[in-house]
Amino acid sequence: MALRAAKWGWSRAGWQRLLVLLLWLGHGIWVSLGPAPGRHWTRLADTLSRPSQGLASRWAQWRTSRREAARTFEETRAENARLGTELSQLRTQAAQEAPRLAEADEAVRLLGLKRQIPLDLKAARVVFSTRPAAFGGLILDRGRDLDLVPDQGVLVPEGIVGRLWSVGPTQAKVLPADAPNASVAVMLMRSRATGVLQGLGSGRAMIRYISNQEVVQVGEAVLTSGLDRVFPRGLLVGYVAEVAPGDLELRVLVNLSAPLDRISTVLLLPSQPPLEVQAPFVAPEQKPSRKRGTP
């Protein structure tokens, strides 16, 4: 086979080679574009238009957010005004219903106490308090119309209050346990030592006739002993606040547990109750705090 070396240039062979080259390159480019060749142009156009699209998107987003913010501000103001009105109405309503709610709560607590004590208890409402005055007391709204007699014990769920001092036709006066002329037969919970509680005023009282030989701890619960036949044994009176040795007896100061200044409803024990009834509340003794891990 005789081969003739074709020279490059604008000869016939050169044109043929150029056509071959273009044909081959064209096919190669077409193949390299792959399926859906238009996607390259689409991608290029997307890339080129990305900055303008970003700007347009931010502009539209800013306008939308501004419009939403304005609308939201107006709506928020209207809702705020409406909620303010509603809140004031609710506050007024709550203030109006607060006494009734407190009384209802107190009644529920008294009802619970009444179910726990197996005695015929009567309920009365405190209509007036003269405690700040000397020898003052509490005025109840019931008297002989409820068959009340003097020296009936008065108590609340927190503890004893005192005893009836005088009874009128429709009212009765309570002598609080912290009155200077009040006395209650009590005993100490741990030592079971008995004594007489005498009032000191302001919710405090002092136990008399506790021997110096007794061991009394601060925080110890003080219960009724039942010896005065006004309260049965075991009702909570208060807690020992201070103990000091005296010449003949211990000086034991007691904080009464009943909130005498905040009582609205009380329970009245029957006259001459039995000495022993099931104690409704034996208060847990206030133990001094111990370090963890010690026996």
């Binding site: 086979m1 081969l3 003739r4 074709a6 043929q16 080679r17 056509l19 071959v20 044909l23 081959w24 096919h27 190669g28 077409w30 193949v31 390299s32 574009l33 792959g34 399926p35 859906a36 060749p37």
Partner: protein, 162 residues
């Protein structure tokens, strides 16, 4: 012994006949791929005339892919066919034929390269696809069609060969 190149008319006539067979054998893919390989690797290459060979090879590739109707983006087979035809034509000029054995060996090598390049180009053009066994049929039948082409183009009756 140097083997002379066949006349361009005979070669083009044979190429046209093979291209027609590619279209006609479309219902029989195994036969079609053999005829396609025959046209691209054995008939179309011609030393010193790359344009006609590239055109025949491109036509064979487009005809095959167009009749297969399998690929979403055509052209991969045509590009591979053109590449291998140009390579075969260059080899024919660079290393002239000296016998049927070297002819068959050259065809076998080109067939392997053609198979790989076709799959690469089709993968680039239209994505992943099944390999199929056309290459195996072509390789197994290579002695037959290789010898036939040898007889028709290089050692058969010819005014130039006498």
């Amino acid at each position: 012994m140097r083997i002379l190149a066949p006349s361009a008319i005979r070669q083009n006539l044979l190429c046209a006949a093979a291209l027609g067979l590619v279209f006609l054998s479309a219902p029989f893919p195994r036969l079609q791929i053999v005829i396609h390989v025959l046209l691209v690797l054995a008939l179309a290459p011609r030393a010193g005339s790359p344009l006609s060979g590239a055109l025949w090879a491109g036509a064979a590739g487009w005809a095959l892919e167009g009749s297969l109707r399998l690929y979403p983006h055509l052209g991969g087979t045509a590009w591979a066919d053109m590449t291998l035809t140009l390579l075969a034509g260059w080899m024919a000029g660079r290393w002239p034929l000296e016998g049927v054995k070297s002819w068959l060996a050259r065809l076998a090598g080109l067939l392997v390269a053609h198979t790989l390049l076709v799959h690469l180009a089709v993968r680039l053009a239209s994505g992943p696809h099944a390999w199929g066994f056309g290459w195996l049929w072509s390789l197994l039948s290579l002695p037959v069609w290789g010898w036939a082409v040898w007889r028709l183009m290089y050692t058969g009756p010819s005014p130039r060969l006498g």
